[in-house]
């Protein structure tokens, strides 16, 4: 089903492996994933930045009915996390009891296996967050 070609996986590696974002040199706004233009400014210029490795839970859920690639992992906690640089992203929370997750909980990011696609023999890695 979720057939993913290796080119598509490889393109996202800077974001998934090292959380590379970009920063508008004029406004200081940080975008993750990086953007080619800033909202309302086609001529914006950017510099590459790496996101802070920690943040806090803005909101969360516990996924009990999972999509096929994550069926064996359910129930798992999924959250919107705001990094210390003010960037928000969606990721799984791991190494915790899902009933302990709270809004405002401090977390830090770790490099983890996400899932594998047996059909394409590709293992997908990326960021997950753990409780500090």
């Amino acid at each position: 089903m979720a057939q993913t070609l290796t080119g598509r996986v490889w393109r996202e590696q800077p974001q998934r492996y090292r959380m590379i974002a970009n920063k508008d040199t004029e406004t200081g706004e940080i975008y993750f994933p990086p953007r080619l233009v800033a909202p309302g400014n086609l001529d914006a210029t950017f510099e590459e930045v790496q996101l802070s490795g920690s943040g806090k839970v803005v909101t969360f859920t516990i996924i009990r009915v999972a999509p096929t690639p994550y069926a064996d992992l359910a129930p798992y906690a999924l959250a919107v996390v705001e990094t210390e640089d003010g960037v928000r992203l969606t990721c799984q929370l791991t190494d915790l009891d899902v009933d302990d997750v709270k809004i405002g909980m401090p977390v830090q990011f770790e490099f983890r296996k996400l899932y594998d696609d047996n059909e394409a023999s590709v293992i997908y890695y990326g960021y997950k967050a753990v409780q500090v």
Partner: protein, 385 residues
């Protein structure tokens, strides 16, 4: 721009319709709308469809449906804005008639969702979110709205019981709709004790997976008058977009695209939200109905949950919401939903809603259709002339 009216409506029953194909669903709804309007020709057609490719392995919907409706060689265009595809078809048809380019245009919507298993349906629906930055990490649609719900509970004190009241009210309305997929009445305890899908959303907080189609025929008001048809005028249509990813919004509980689309539609119509008698809104999840009513300005942020619990949005309340049963009870064939909302508005505005669900006051109404977790929204305002 010319004034535009809806002169005909049609829809299939919504449900798990294993005996009927994708093309048959669309043709049944479109034929019904053409018969209702008394037209046997169309100038053009727009078809809202979220994912023929993933649900039935079929693209090139415009050609397929024009062929099987027997109206080729008219121009026929498939439009897509996830679950707001139907509303987008209405908007496209409205623009084409208003511009003077065409006179009789069909806006339809169709989705055939039960030819695939649950895992594939979940995957197909999740493509309406950011595939690389939400779906990849295991987000599902119930999961995204569940995160919106948790944020809403945290910020405003909204409760699971308030959300359950939305489901109970919509099923009570749907029990009177002959086309509804799940017409059974439910209770607040029943919702709260149903299986948890994505905390805090239970299965009975969620709209179902549905097969179905709906269609509406749009024409200039002047032509409708000359045909002697009841005039249901389109006062305005507004569409807006927002960030695709839920996490990218400054305020997670605020559906910005809904607010902007509503303002655009109201401005075109020259009326305020207080001038609307009732509405159909995109209750894909119970929390969605609450957040939408707040974004549209019907209620202040945080007030729609208590109002729902107090019965204000029931058919006999001061602002009836989803008299059709909504997506929750009527069913949610994603591409068809926005058009089915217009079908209900027209029935109510004509005074012909079935089984005693006709509202006492129905002169001006609003339909709000939404894509993804709020990445797009289309709002239409109709009035009986």
């Amino acid at each position: 721009m010319r004034d535009v009216a809806v002169i005909g409506i049609g829809m299939t029953k919504f449900g798990e319709l294993w005996e009927r194909s994708y093309r048959d669903l669309f043709v049944e709804a479109a034929k019904g709308a053409m018969k209702d309007a008394g037209v046997d020709n169309l100038d053009s057609m727009y078809i809202g469809c979220m994912s023929g490719g993933l649900f039935v392995g079929q693209e090139h919907i415009g050609s397929l449906m024009a062929d099987y409706l027997g109206v080729a060689p008219i121009p026929a265009t498939r439009v897509e804005s996830a679950c707001a595809s139907g509303g987008t078809a209405i908007r496209s048809a409205w623009i084409e008639v208003a511009s003077g380019l065409s006179d009789v245009v069909l806006a339809g919507g169709v989705e055939k969702m039960t030819d695939v298993d649950g895992g594939m349906a979940t995957y197909a629906l999740a493509t309406a979110a950011d595939a690389e930055y939400e779906g990849f990490h295991g987000a599902t649609f119930p999961g995204l709205y569940a995160m919106l719900a948790h944020a809403h509970m945290d910020k405003y004190g909204t409760t699971s019981e308030m959300m359950a009241h939305v489901a109970v009210k919509n099923h009570a309305n749907g029990s009177l709709n002959p086309n509804a997929q799940f017409p059974a009445k439910i209770t607040v305890d029943g919702v709260l004790n149903s299986t948890m899908v994505a905390d805090p959303l239970h299965i009975l907080d969620c709209s179902p997976v549905t097969d179905g189609a709906a269609a509406a025929i749009l024409a200039p008001v002047d032509l409708a008058k000359s045909m002697g048809l009841p005039i249901i005028k389109i006062l305005g249509v507004g569409m807006a977009t927002d960030t695709l990813a839920l996490h990218a919004r400054k305020e997670i509980t605020h559906l910005g695209a809904v607010a902007t689309a509503t303002k655009r539609a109201l401005d075109l119509a020259g009326v305020s939200i207080n001038d609307i008698d009732f509405c159909e809104v995109h209750d894909c999840f119970t929390i969605a109905e609450i957040a939408v009513l707040e974004a549209m300005g019907v209620y202040e942020p945080g007030k729609a949950g208590p109002a729902s619990m107090a019965g204000e949005t029931a058919r006999d309340g001061k602002f009836p919401v989803n008299p059709s049963g909504g997506l929750k009870s009527k069913g949610h064939p994603v591409g068809a939903t926005g058009v089915a909302q217009i079908v209900e508005l027209v029935k109510q505005l004509r005074g012909t809603a079935e089984n005693g669900r006709q509202l006492a006051k129905a002169n001006r109404a609003l339909a709000q259709n939404m894509g993804g977790s709020g990445g797009s929204s289309v709002v239409s305002i109709l009035e009986a002339m």
